[in-house]
């Protein structure tokens, strides 16, 4: 017993880098958070690449980050006006929800496609595969920050009072990231095998938009059915964004349940991803 310990000790002393064993992995694998941390700079550079490339060779550049949600806001405010039989609704009400929704949907679509659109990297270079879907948070987040400036201007124009609850914004953004990755990580791994999921994701996002309180408020629903909306990861979170911006009391239960569901999705997604990621280079 003691002999074995001594040899292993000397081995360690001689070779500075630990021995790495490569062999077939079977079944469920632990999520390698340490590896991810080690590659954090790559995460940063890939996110930066997406940001740098996003508006290259466009005339309007970063203005697009503002134009898209603004146009959507105008249309949706008009729709609400027509459907509400002339009862106007504040554009701020809509815009406050469109921004996190756009952030969510572009992150989901971006991360779903991230592995397939970087297939050449998967085939030729080693790095933790999870970096790719994670890095797709970067440029939607920047778009959110830019268009948030417009939201602040609108709040001033419509004389919405700024309250302390705005301080919860980072928490809500973090919840949104969890929700978006919860779906994106899972779909990205599935897309590697079956490209169907690229079409699934666009359809999913379209339907999800109407199932989420963007153009309506959670509180406009019948009280008995509001809990269903909590199970929608984005339901409570979008409502939270709106409350924070309009200075309404935050529905903490809705936020907490939605975030819990989102976290659960993310965990399942991560577990599935880690199980299949070793095959990516062979089948992508």
């Amino acid at each position: 017993m003691s002999a074995i310990t001594t040899t292993s000790l000397t081995k360690e002393a001689v070779s500075p880098t630990p021995t790495k064993i490569l062999k077939a992995s079977k079944g469920w694998q632990p999520i390698e958070f340490a590896k991810l941390f080690q590659y954090r700079e790559l995460l940063w550079f890939l996110a930066l690449r997406d940001i740098q490339v996003r508006y290259k060779q466009t005339l309007l550049g970063a203005f697009w980050a503002v134009i898209q949600p603004l146009a959507l806001m105008i249309v949706l405010t008009a729709v609400r006006y027509i459907m509400g039989r002339g009862q106007a609704i504040s554009p701020v009400f809509i815009f406050a929800a469109i921004l996190p929704w756009t952030f969510f949907s572009s992150t989901v679509i971006g991360s779903t496609n991230s592995l397939v659109s970087n297939a050449h990297m998967l085939r030729k270079i080693y790095f933790p595969r999870l970096i790719l879907p994670l890095a797709s948070v970067g440029s939607p987040l920047l778009d959110y920050a830019i268009s948030f400036g417009v939201l602040v201007l609108m709040m001033l124009w419509y004389q919405v009072t700024l309250t302390w609850s705005l301080l919860f914004l980072p928490v809500l953004i973090f919840s949104t990231i969890i929700a978006a990755l919860g779906v994106g990580v899972l779909l990205s791994a599935l897309t590697v095998s079956y490209r169907d999921f690229r079409y699934v994701v666009t359809l999913l996002i379209q339907l999800w938009f109407f199932a989420t309180p963007v153009i309506y408020s959670l509180h406009e629903l019948p009280v008995h059915y509001q809990w269903i909306m909590w199970l929608n990861p984005m339901g409570g979170i979008i409502e939270g964004f709106r409350s924070v911006i309009l200075g309404n009391p935050i529905d903490w239960i809705a936020w907490a349940v939605s975030t819990q569901v989102a976290t659960l999705c993310l965990l399942l997604g991560l577990i599935f991803f880690t199980r299949v990621e070793k095959r990516f280079a062979d089948i992508v």
Binding site: K11, V14, S15, T17, T19, K20, I21, L22, K23, A24, S25, Y39, E41, L42, W44, F45, L46, L48, R49, Q52, V53, K56, Q57, H120, M121, L122, R123, K124, I125, Y126, F127, S193, Y194, K278, A281, D282, I283
Partner: protein, 434 residues
């Protein structure tokens, strides 16, 4: 120092499921229509049995290899021998199916030049991005930035998007980033196939520095035997997924060359239909040695002109790539290569569907009396390769009878051209007078 090998491969194998992958390529409508067709086909039972089921393909099998620290190992073998799969496993891109590998050092691998380069980003931005992809830290890239730029020789274009670079410049920049990686084990796959010869020389020199000067372990795949014998202290020959030779390059390279199927082909290589090397609708039907009367021949007299005839089949109209031939001697030294773009004559811009025949005329009194191997290449220079057969066939160049034999036979050198000589005489006094 420890005696433990830095790379220890034990009984390693890698299996690809061909059938399994084919399944992924089918859409549900395709599967349904196939099932329906089979159901309604009269010979239903017969066709059902014939369908091949999941086919296994072992890209590597029973590989055992120990590499010591500081060794420079060349991996050689024909296309499909498993070289790239081996490197992919060692770089952790894919997992072995059986057996295991122990790595006792940090691995840096360069399986393709310029993976992860983004065309819209500038050279400077791409250096940082590519460095990070290859596993370098930001501070390391910063420290080496000037070296990288100097080695690549693209200083002037650092702030230009890479999409405006020539392909040669992109390759130079990409190799420079990778060459400044600082791993204990460097894995390099056939990167010298691109770039001009001057830069290739520079790359080889850099790899030599890494190997000899810094005492790192290098694994190097190449089809270029002179690079292998110059650079490597050891060569490993792979064939159909197993190691069939391991020793000094001097011992192993002849084995590789002899295992070459070019030895079975004298004067021509004609591919059976369905077995042609082909890509993107361009297929190589035949490459032949012909005399001036277009008759196929197996050897050529040194005092005769001859041609190399390349027959290609084009399936659809396509922008015309370049066609090249290469002559090598039996030690695999390149004698020369020649492309249809060498002359400053207009070349057809597109290829129509159908058969295209190229003739490359080779003048008499150029070659020496020895055996030559002919290779053919079709592609876009520095960008894409459609067809590459390094050694399609061989032929013997023979010194013919008569006085010529005494003058020209058995001269040293890979070629023995008859050149024009011109003599002018000056008397001694005149020379010193000026």
């Amino acid at each position: 120092m420890t005696d433990q090998p830095i790379i220890d491969i034990q009984n390693m194998g890698k299996r690809y499921l061909l059938g399994g992958q084919a399944r992924l390529d089918q859409t549900i409508p395709e599967i349904i229509s196939e099932k329906c067709r089979r159901f309604f086909s009269p010979k239903r039972t017969a066709t059902k049995k014939k369908q091949p089921h999941t086919a296994d393909f072992w890209a590597l099998r029973n590989v055992n290899l120990q590499i010591q620290k500081g060794e420079v190992v060349g991996i050689i073998g024909h296309n499909g021998a498993g070289k790239s799969t081996l490197l992919k496993i060692l770089s952790e891109i894919t997992e072995p199916t059986e057996g295991h590998v122990a790595l006792r050092g940090r691995v840096g691998s360069l399986l393709e030049v310029g993976t992860g380069f983004h065309p819209e980003l500038t050279g400077r931005e791409n250096i940082f991005l590519n460095g990070a992809i290859l596993g370098m830290s930001k501070s390391l890239i910063k420290a080496k930035f000037d070296d990288i730029v100097e080695f690549s020789g693209v200083e002037k274009f650092l702030d230009t998007p890479v999409k405006r670079y020539s392909s040669g410049m992109t390759v130079r920049l990409a190799f420079s980033v990778a060459a400044h990686l600082d791993p204990e084990i460097l894995i390099v796959d056939e990167v010298l196939a691109v770039g001009d010869s001057e830069f290739q020389k520079k790359c080889l020199g850099k790899m030599q520095d890494i190997a000899n000067g810094q005492g790192r372990t290098v694994l190097f795949v190449s089809h270029n035997m002179s690079a292998i014998s110059n650079l490597c202290s050891r060569a490993v020959l792979l064939n159909h997924g197993t190691i069939v030779g391991d020793g000094t390059p001097e011992d192993i390279i002849p084995d590789y060359l002899n295992s070459d199927s070019a030895h079975e082909h004298i004067g021509q290589r004609i591919y059976l239909s369905g077995q042609e090397p082909q890509k993107q609708g361009i297929a190589l039907e035949a490459i032949q040695l012909v005399n001036d009367n277009q008759m196929p021949i197996g050897s050529i007299g040194l005092n005769h002109d001859f041609r190399i005839k390349i027959t290609l089949q084009v399936e659809q109209e396509t922008p015309a790539p370049a066609v090249a031939i290469a002559l090598r001697d039996s030690a695999d030294t390149l004698v020369f290569n020649s492309t249809n773009h060498d002359q400053s004559l207009p070349v057809e811009q597109t290829w129509q569907k159908g058969k295209i025949v190229f003739h490359c005329h080779i003048p008499k009194h150029l070659l020496n009396s020895q055996r030559y191997y002919v290779g053919v290449w079709v592609g876009v220079p520095c960008e894409k390769t459609f067809i590459q057969v390094d050694r399609a066939f061989y032929f013997d160049a023979i010194a013919m009878e008569g006085a010529e034999r005494f003058i020209r036979g058995n001269k040293p050198g890979v070629v023995a051209p008859i050149l024009n000589w011109h003599q002018t005489s000056h008397s001694e006094s005149q020379c010193y007078a000026t």
